[in-house]
Symmetry: C2
Subunit: 318 residues, 2 copies
């Protein structure tokens, strides 16, 4: 027998909700702007509205939600999601039950964890029971999958890979952690590093497209220049990839989990980052754990977050 | 009803076997020299002999063994334990069944994991369901306890904390990993660092007791000098503790496990190492995970390894 559930991908710019069948996968999907600036009540209204649009008949038996921010152990409440002004603690589960006028299972999970669960069941993670997920975007997110389930740690906050350090005397990330990998690969830090480096180098393609004094430089522009053959741009991704490999090696040494799946917007830079990471990870993993170490790119797009969110409920009902 | 099992602590210099009652704990204990230089067959004979001495009546229902080296997923076989010449792969389980002429459950586990299991049930780990164990000795070992069980990773090799890096361009450890924490805190590395540093400093207590050119310098001598008030020696432990805190912060960020229990010979240096570690760990843990982070010293002695080894079998029978 098949079950129908809703998977919601709550992001800073858009809310995407998918109706998911336990056997056949995504049936259909609806997206609306989040309008996060309007505050929490408005966003919660928008989420409820999006779910009603998706399925006015309420044919689903539960709702899973992937959200930024820290999630509590009961998976009902999120705290301080970045880019959501005036959110402190919000019990999404209660708020949506009220708005939908129904009592049904509603579970929330951190967005990187949901992406990993989606990958485990529908993406690059399918062949593996255990893997580490890294999401490269504005920041560096992470998730740990053990026996096809999310490893949550003691309070639900595990897998802060972005805050693992590769240099105890290195540059300080937003979190205050010296040498945190986010201080190299986070979007803002990568752009800053690229600017510092490029400004001293002879003009190349990237100087043409990134505006006066490289002021419009973003990882996307850098990527564009790199695929057009700008060796300076290629070298910057290589610098970043090397660092990514170093931090992943420490994670492999600690977890003995040897498959790493990389997703998120910045992973569009693909092999430009991942090839150097593949080289440096091998040097950092202790010899006894090297066999089978692999960095794999998640090729499946955005729907994986909705599928992962739906999976939260399907696993709960199973 | 109570059950009696044997817990064996197989070390490079001695074999300790304890008879353990599931309700009352350690009944009695026997220790013999390992004589590891004589090779694997001899050591296996010694282990069997030690167990026979411990309980000639064979009143136990299973044997748990803590051993150095890598243990396979089935927990029967160890590979290449350091300081055991001519050992490659040895199925301890089969070898001991043969020698004891009995079929009974025999499980092997890595020594750091066994120490952690012992701590979880009988030592400093008792109040916690989740903790990270670090053992400071010749090298730096580790274990991860999740829900009072050993977290083993995908092949049983998890928790190689000694090989996690704090500096991707740092000194290279035996494993070849740059900046691995073992390259700072491992016994040989710590002695070397201390020598390099002290040789340039005005003579102090440590120069008197460590021989010509500091050639006899060991962490033990350093500790002795430190408790006698040698500020140079104190500073070296502080340098080491700072680094320990840095690597543990990365582990907390990855696992969201906030209690760290430190055991092993070198932890005799106690607060000389742990106080600086307590300060630096807080700077390296991401703010959202800082609450409740604690570094605790395992005060229970050697019998914890026998108790932990016995627990392998008790958990299996439970």
């Amino acid at each position: 027998m098949s079950t129908t559930v809703v998977g919601v991908d709550l992001g800073g710019t858009s809310i995407k909700a998918g109706l998911v069948d336990s056997r056949t996968g995504l049936i259909r999907s609806v997206a609306n702007p989040t309008e996060a600036l309007e505050g929490p009540e408005h966003v919660l209204d928008r989420v409820a509205q999006t779910i009603r649009e998706l399925d006015p008949e309420h044919g689903y038996v539960g709702i899973g939600i992937g959200s930024p921010g820290a999630v509590n152990l009961a998976r009902t409440t999120i705290s301080s999601p970045p880019n959501f002004p005036r959110w402190h603690k919000q019990n999404l589960s209660e708020a949506l039950q009220q708005r939908l006028g129904r009592e049904l299972p509603i579970l929330v999970e951190n967005d990187a964890n949901v992406a990993a669960l989606g990958s485990a069941h529908f993406g690059a993670g399918r062949p593996y029971d255990h893997f580490i997920m890294v999401t490269l975007g504005t920041g560096v997110g992470g998730a740990i999958i053990v026996n096809n389930k999310i490893f949550r740690g003691s309070t639900g906050g595990a897998a802060e890979i972005g805050h693992m350090s590769i240099d105890y005397e290195g540059p300080v990330a937003r979190s205050g952690v010296a040498g945190a990998i986010e201080a190299y690969l986070g979007q803002r830090f990568l752009s800053r590093h690229a600017r510092d480096r490029l400004v001293a180098l002879p003009p190349s393609r990237i100087h043409e497209i990134a505006g006066e004094g490289l002021r419009d430089l973003t990882p996307e522009l850098l990527y564009e220049a790199a695929i057009q053959g700008d060796t300076n741009a290629v070298e910057i991704f290589s610098w970043a990839g090397h660092k990514l490999g170093c931090v992943l090696a420490s994670a492999v040494n600690l977890l003995d989990i040897r498959k790493i799946i990389v997703g998120g917007g910045q992973s569009a830079a693909g092999d430009l980052i991942l090839e150097p990471a593949r080289r440096s990870i091998m040097r950092g993993v202790v010899p006894a754990l090297r066999e089978g170490v692999e960095i794999i790119r998640e090729m499946r797009g955005n729907d994986i977050a909705q599928l992962g969110a739906a999976r939260l409920i399907l696993d709960e009902l199973a």
